[in-house]
């Protein structure tokens, strides 16, 4: 097969306007990648890698095309075909593969990969660990990891540290639940959703008032009071649940903003 291919590549060099030569394919592949036609690009680079099996740039571009066309599982599987030994993957394809793993959200495999890889420096490993921790919303582990960095002046390290410092001001879902249990709606107000809080208070209080009035007027044997009371209880419980949810959403949005910040820093550094 190799021989056949060799024969072909010779025949390629002989004909001048051949558009499947290695060089032309490479040019076309680069164009596809740059113009955003990632799926076509992945096919082109698949071919190119097949033609020249020792070119790391091509392999990096192939992985990149897979990542950008969202074929992450295909890309991840491809690595073992491209490199026999995972620990000896050179720097740029290894970095590309790390991004693929992160995009696929397989954090454990990602960490295992770069920690065993020999092309990354120890600081690279620390930074990648912190990045994946932040993306995976594991800030505790991120704090432990960032302290292991040896170069204190590293710009990404400094950026990550400032992000980790901002993470502390979160709100407590438990407190929100308690507040809402005492006075309906206050839990939502606590998580900056005061409009929803007022509506909750209004609904619960309205139903409670109606129930109280019905019990007063018709006594406890009449169904009206119980129906109003039941609906009111539903709103009361729903409001407690909603307060917890709203607080969690508040925290999630805050963390999400930090993650975007981290991803921007990561992009400029790597």
């Amino acid at each position: 097969m190799r021989l056949l291919l060799l024969l072909f590549s010779i025949s390629f060099t002989l004909s001048g306007q051949d558009i499947f030569t290695f060089e032309k394919s490479r040019k076309y592949g680069d164009y596809l990648l740059k113009s955003g036609q990632f799926e076509l690009a992945s096919k082109e680079f698949e071919r190119l890698v097949y033609l020249s099996s020792n070119n790391d740039t091509l392999k990096t571009n192939l992985l990149k095309a897979y990542r950008l066309s969202n074929q992450t599982t295909l890309g991840i599987e491809k690595l073992s075909v491209l490199y026999a030994d995972k620990t000896k993957v050179p720097y740029s394809p290894a970095l590309e593969f790390s991004k693929l793993q992160m995009q696929n959200q397989s954090w454990q495999q990602a960490k295992e990969f770069w920690n065993k890889n020999e092309s990354f420096s120890s600081d690279d490993k620390v930074l990648l660990n912190v990045t994946s921790d932040i993306f995976n919303n594991d800030f505790k582990s991120a704090r432990v990891n960032i302290s292991q960095i040896s170069n204190q002046e590293n710009e990404l390290g400094i950026g990550y540290r400032s992000i980790l410092e901002k993470e502390v001001r979160k709100k407590s879902p438990g407190l929100a639940a308690l507040m809402s249990a005492v006075v309906p709606g206050t839990g939502k107000a606590y998580s900056n959703n005061w409009k929803d809080g007022i509506v909750s208070l209004f609904f619960t209080a309205g139903m409670a008032f109606q129930s109280y009035r019905s019990f007063n007027k018709y006594g406890t044997n009449n169904h009206r009071g119980w129906i109003y009371g039941g609906i009111g209880l539903g709103f009361y419980l729903g409001n407690i649940y909603g307060s917890v949810k709203s607080t969690k959403d508040y925290n999630r949005k805050k963390i999400n903003a930090l993650q975007h910040e981290a991803s921007a820093l990561f992009n400029t550094y790597y």
């Binding site: 929803d196 729903g238 649940y241 999400n256």
Partner: protein
């Protein structure tokens, strides 16, 4: 030999005929069909008696009440759809509590808390989806 030629001719004719038909059929739906009947997938695939009962209630509400209603809900899926989906996923108690919370949130006062669905012009709030942390989607 003759047989083969005839067969090919016949096939060719068939293909031609299909082509002509395909041409007009392409334009069958150029006009809106005016079909406003809705199908409620939410009420399908019930797994136990509770789900059957709630799906029944949901369908009853949808056919006899909601069909006569204005579009008042600010969300997509709407409150009743949210209810049946939540009960199916989390059970009667948690699903019910979630629905009560959703009813109070259905006030249109805080649109900034939700994603906007451009096709329906409504706010997205699906009980089945916990908003995922967006990860490195924008790595270059």
């Amino acid at each position: 030999m003759k047989y083969i030629v005839i067969k090919f001719l016949f096939l060719g004719l068939l293909l031609l005929k299909n082509d002509a038909q395909a041409q007009v059929s392409l334009y069958r739906n150029v006009l809106p069909s005016g079909d406003i009947k809705k199908e409620y997938v939410e009420a399908k695939n019930n797994k136990n008696e509770v789900q059957v009962v709630f799906s029944g209630l949901f369908l009853f509400y949808k056919t006899f009440f909601s069909s006569q209603d204005l579009t008042v809900c600010t969300f997509s899926p709407s409150c009743s759809e949210y209810g049946i989906l939540a009960v199916k996923k989390y059970g009667m108690i948690k699903g019910g509590v979630m629905t009560m919370d959703r009813l109070t949130r259905c006030n249109g006062l805080s649109p900034h808390n939700y994603e906007f669905d451009k096709t329906t012009m409504l706010l997205k709030d699906d009980p089945r989806i916990t908003p995922a942390v967006s990860v490195v989607s924008n790595i270059k």
